[in-house]
Amino acid sequence: MVAHLPVLTIMIPLFAGLFMPLLGRLNRAIVWPLAVGALGFATFGSIHMLVDVATTGEAIHYSFGGWALPTGIGYRVDLLNGMVLAMIAGAGLLTSIWMLRPAQKEIPDEGRTSYYAVFLLCCAGFLGITITADIFNLYVFLEIASITSYVLIAMGGRRQALYAGYSYLIVGSIGATFILLGIGHLYMRTGSLGMADILSQFQADTSLYTLSDVRTAFAFFTVGLAIKMALFPLHGWQPSAYTYAPSPSSLFIASTSTKVSAYAFYRICFGVFGLAFLTDGLPEIRQIVLVMSSAAIVLGPLIAIRQGDLKRLLAYSSVGQIGYIMLGVVLLNVDGLTGGIIHFWNHAAAKGSLFCVAGALVFRTGSSRVSDLAGMGRRAPWTSAVLTVAGCSMVGVPMTAGFLSKWYLAAGALEADYVFVVPVLIASSVFTAIYVWRVLQLVWFAPKDVEPAVTSEVPWSMRIPALALGAACLVFGLTPWSVDLARSAAVALGVGS
């Protein structure tokens, strides 16, 4: 079975999602255990593969039906996407556990089975984008993930959610079309859809880099993925989508979706076009992405300060955080890439915890107003502790995960002679500290006469995933192995130190 883990990890959630409406019709009670089980298996599979890759040092290749690439479709797991797979599957598993109670509350009865089904399909889509070694296959999974995301966002039964889902649909489709155009241009030039095959063609003949259709293809990829990952200034769809989506959707989408697109960008850069394209072929692209991500890093948290809605605040903070991950690509050295790659995990843990807290707030009060957090520390100490730890990680307090991301990014920036990135990172930490402190002060030091809106702690089914994510923020910040993995992944991408 181990040999087939790559395909099982994707297909079990996918088929669980496909059959769920049918099974749910037989017995509604089976829906939740099925989702948890399918994602539990995916988590097991992806961690197993990650450990395998890390210990053997070699990537896992899997060809469907024995058809070798580039003729057939193949999957490939190396350290970089192994980490992303583990992140998606882990976040999916915790979300599926967490959503038992909020889904009962926020999703209308008749739609709940479909909601679980769509959720599983969405997970499968993200996993597929990450694992595939075929660039058209990537597009197919991207569409699966996108369409299910639109549904997940719109399913809240609130009018604004419909609108948010719809605007994401329009903008996201434009992004997806751009990506498809990029794939088309590449196919025109190389006659291939296998990532490794295209890469070897580029490596064999670097003069291809000067051709305008290759450059156009890269531009399409960049803009298309920048829309999907909500990179500033193409983040317009994201705040409303996060804010109005039902809590389980926000939790899952916020902790994975944009990062999967960021991963796709990593893969397009290093696995399709090749490192030389960024250093020699079209070095200007680095400047452009550098400016976009620096702007995101500063402006995301700056806008977040003024938000009165917790989910919207977190959405803007995500706009900033994706900038960190993209910064890693631009720096093109081991330290910078290490920082970018660990941020996949670190941000998933921190943002996941924070959306668990936002979800708990919605669960108890029915809204996500920041002011309703007042006095929560007294009534819901566990949830508040998670909020505190994750908040510290967002700021980058030492001994939390966020610190290490920033530390390595700053080291990489100095190495690449982008000195101005260091003040950018500091400014972002300061703005983040402002909104985090504002929230924490409300939670822990509210005036005595304020009656807390959150009257009690959330059920254990919601508390355990939140605690697990909060603990992850500490574990990643206190132990070296996540950094070691990211560093090996960065080295494997072939950049100089």
Partner: protein
């Protein structure tokens, strides 16, 4: 992750552990105030005993310390006992005992709410001090430095009134803001400049002593580090300290005269002696910036203190000015001045805590907070005011009190390097100190009490009186037996000359 458990070697970790265990004990006994305070006091005593034991071991030439946790190579939480660290630890842990005693009297007489939170945050604060004192590297110190800011926030906002909120906001903005904006990048620059294998370990003679980084980078790193250690109260980043005076007096006494502010100057000492090293700073010339800032702060702090009518605020500005004595001593880069500066960490601590204890006792017993209301108070509270007088004499630098010892060393150092302006600053400051302390003493003992004051003695509760007499006695003892602090300071500053 390396978790080391060698009990002998991990004295510092045990000390932090004791304080944190104390927190658990305090939380567990929150329904029984007497037991809770007993736990506090016991923790303080046990912790001080442990620090004393470590001091003994250190004097015997043993190296204590261990790496508790290595996050990534070079970034670790690790401890090592050295002269500077043990001095700071002795001061903080020793005065914690007296301060706990004082808190019991003060908080009960005031029927303050949220006492469990108060005592537990206090214990965490001391744990943070122990951690920072024994940190063997900058990263570790930075982590505990931040922890101290965060765990003292609940103490500053204690009353949870609008003034307390505003004060606490300013407190946290300045301290966290400065450390995020300046100290963190400084640490990063130091890491980058430290050589091929980046490290943040403190080293005798300076981690960066053989650094090949450019003078600009090193100078920038030094200035950022000093600015980031805003707890040292150097102007212009001082205004958090008067704002923090909204806290209950025991907090002002131990934290904002001893632990928190001393953490700041302690950090500067570490930066000067063990990160950059005196030689490197001499070549770079950036220590002069610190020197001028310290001189400015000494004079201006005293001038502002002159016009404060609120007693605690006057003491706060006096603290700002006195802390800069330490910075000045260190920034002169002369061994003798270094001795004065480092020893002043201890001497200022015992004197200033006495003054704060007295101010709190006056507030508890007579409900007075203003200097102008203190006429004749010395006749009602003779013990308190006698202690206050001893503290004031020490601040001015008159015998037979601790203050004269450090001042003497500072003067000696200034003469050694022929810094005459510094000498002038020390002289002016002495006069100014006399100018804002002696009138209080004079009012208390020689002005008639206002009409309608009940006659007879009315001292603060007994634990308060014991505590403030204790610290006053220490202030006197430090004059007669200054060697404990002076020896340690001489070791830190590398002073090998003779003694008076």
């Amino acid at each position: 992750m390396i978790l080391a458990f060698d009990l002998l070697a991990s004295g510092p970790s045990v000390s932090i552990g004791i304080c944190l265990l104390g927190v658990l004990g305090i939380l567990a006994t929150r329904r029984m105030p007497n037991v809770r305070e007993g736990v506090s006091l016991t923790t303080a005593v046990v912790n001080f005993g442990l620090v004393l034991w470590m001091y003994g071991r250190f004097q015997a030439g043993e190296t204590l310390g261990s790496t508790l946790l290595e996050i990534v190579p070079g970034l670790e939480i690790g401890f090592r006992v050295d002269a500077l660290g043990i001095l700071f630890a002795l001061v903080a842990s020793g005065l914690w005992i007296l301060n706990t005693l004082y808190s019991i009297g003060y908080m009960r007489a005031h029927e303050e709410p949220r006492q469990t939170r108060f005592y537990s945050c206090f214990a965490i604060a001391i744990a943070a001090c122990m951690g920072a004192a024994f940190s063997s590297n900058l990263f570790s110190m930075f982590a505990f430095y931040e922890l101290l800011t965060i765990c003292t926030y609940p103490l500053v906002i204690h009353a949870q009134t609008d003034t307390a909120r505003a004060g606490a906001k300013r407190y946290v903005t300045y301290l966290l803001g400065a450390s995020l904006c300046f100290l963190l990048p400084a640490m990063f620059l130091i890491w980058q400049a430290s050589g091929a294998v980046p490290s943040l370990q403190f080293a005798e003679g300076g981690l960066l002593a053989s650094s090949t980084a450019s003078g600009f980078t090193l100078g920038l790193a030094f200035l950022l580090a000093v600015a980031g250690l805003a707890k040292c109260g150097v102007m212009p980043l001082h205004s958090w300290l008067p704002a923090a005076m909204v806290a209950p007096t025991p907090v002002s006494a131990l934290l904002h005269a001893v632990a928190v502010v001393k953490m700041g100057v302690f950090g500067v000492c570490r930066i000067v002696f063990h990160v950059f090293g005196v030689d490197l700073l001499g070549r770079l010339g950036v220590a002069d910036v610190l020197l001028y800032a310290a001189c400015f702060t000494i004079v201006v702090g005293s001038l502002v203190a002159l016009v404060q009518d609120n007693l605690k605020r006057r003491l706060a500005y006096s603290t700002i000015s006195q802390l800069s004595y330490i910075l000045l001593g260190v920034a002169l880069l002369a061994p003798a001045a270094g001795v004065g500066g480092v020893a002043h960490i201890g001497f200022h601590a015992v004197s200033k805590i006495t003054l704060f204890f007295a101010a709190g006792a006056i507030y508890v017993a007579a409900h007075k907070t203003k200097v102008s209301e203190l006429d004749g108070i010395g006749r009602r509270m003779p013990i308190t005011m006698a202690a206050f007088t001893i503290g004031a004499l020490s601040m001015i630098g008159l015998p037979p009190t601790a203050g004269i010892v450090s001042k003497w060393w500072l003067v000696r150092g200034a003469v050694e390097v022929e810094q005459w302006p510094v000498l002038a600053v020390l002289l002016i400051s002495t006069l100014l100190n006399a100018g804002y302390f002696l009138p209080i003493v004079w009012r208390a003992f020689f002005r008639p009490s206002p009409e309608g004051t009940p006659s007879g003695l009315k001292e603060a509760p007994l634990p308060c009186v014991i505590a403030l007499s204790g610290t006053a006695l220490l202030t006197l003892l430090c004059f007669f037996y200054p060697d404990l602090f002076v020896d340690l300071a001489a070791e830190v500053a590398g002073y090998e000359g003779g003694r008076p």
